[in-house]
Subunit: 231 residues, 2 copies
């Protein structure tokens, strides 16, 4: 829980936007990315001296960031032995996806009730962009828009706690999904499910949307599963 770091300096002149991200946040985001993108593979010990040198900071703020990541579950603290990038078993990933599914279904029902038409159209925009990236075969952009859509849907439920826990699990699973390069056929089916999602959302058909989401995440698991050696 970090306060919105005075995002932009909205001086009367509308002058300069200061990107001042506290060092703590910078380190945190940097480390998280390193884990998600696989630069720090599961099971690897985090050497504070080395990483600190690499990022150009001392061990003190680095350790604080590591503690934060530990609470997020991306890293495991082993007494007197430092931190290790958390490994997730196949079952753990399956479990996480199941909870994510439950959360998204709950969010979806609520969203169908309270979301404004404008908000829904914003999701539609993301969706259309995603389809465009899909047609161009741009996996990374597709992946990010995909995440944004799911997060956006959850946000429509207007429930901070829901967003929190969804984000938490989403982050844990990111690393796996980031690697999960599915074949063209599976990719196509995922896109088809998203099309269904959008129409259900626009029709505010809660039951139908929830059902599709359940199916979507079930299939997400089946798409990811084969790529896991459960290390």
């Amino acid at each position: 829980m970090i306060a919105p770091n005075s995002e932009l300096d909205q001086s009367p002149t509308g002058a300069i936007k200061i990107e001042r991200q506290s060092l703590h946040d910078a380190i945190l985001n940097r480390l998280r990315d390193m884990i998600i993108e696989g630069h720090l593979p599961p099971g690897m010990r985090l050497n504070e001296g080395q990483i600190g040198a690499q990022l150009g900071v001392s061990r003190t703020p680095l350790r604080e960031a590591i503690k934060f990541l530990a609470s997020e579950g991306l890293v495991e603290l082993i007494p007197a032995r430092g931190a290790v990038v958390k490994k997730f078993s196949a079952k753990e990933i399956s479990d996480m996806l199941q909870v994510i599914s439950t959360l998204e279904q709950h969010a979806a029902r609520r969203a169908c009730e309270i979301a404004t038409t404008y908000q829904i159209s914003a999701i539609r925009d993301l969706h259309d962009q995603m389809i465009d990236r899909y047609e161009h075969g741009d996996r990374l952009a597709y992946y990010k828009l995909n995440q944004a859509i799911h997060s956006g849907l959850v946000a429509l439920a207007d429930n901070a706690a829901l967003v929190d826990v969804h984000t938490l699990l989403q982050t844990r699973v990111k690393r796996i999904r980031f690697i999960g390069h599915e074949g063209p056929d599976k990719w196509a089916s995922a896109v088809a499910e998203h099309e269904e999602m959008m129409t259900a959302l626009e029709a505010r058909d809660a039951d139908r949307l929830a059902a599709i989401l359940g199916k979507h995440l079930q299939l997400a698991w089946e798409r990811v599963k084969p790529g896991l050696d459960d290390r």
Copy 2:
């Protein structure tokens, strides 16, 4: 995510159980309790020097624990101004309870499918103890057993991620519920709901159990709500 701190030394002789809790954990638990029990009221700034002196540790491990709590959402980090105990609005609390409800319902359904009869009887034990404490008017013990039952139910679903997020939210609302001294009538109705829960669980009636849980947490909100001034 902290490794099980070699809980007990299970040497062949079954000798000594070492309670060695890392300092980090000790500080963390201590701080959490201080927040939950209201010694550190919402909105209060955490003075590192003072708290450090009080706990007899330097600022370094203390700050690490604070970062951990920040990730848990009990504390808010304000750049260049340290940490503040998080205030929750009435809506935020309501939202949290709603998510907890969703999670527990999901857990309940799964539990009805896979829990062993023995595991269910363990919950029954907690329940009976809780009733006993209720009849003795022992609020604190009742409260703790109540928490244990809900956590136990979630544990039956055998899903680590589910336990994680449930614990997270449970911890956040603990402070509010800890204060929430409901009157005898409301207390009685809460107990009645628990009785219903137990019979539904023992009958493995998933729909019924989920329905009761939904109602139970809805009422939990109504029981807590009046005591909030939304500070």
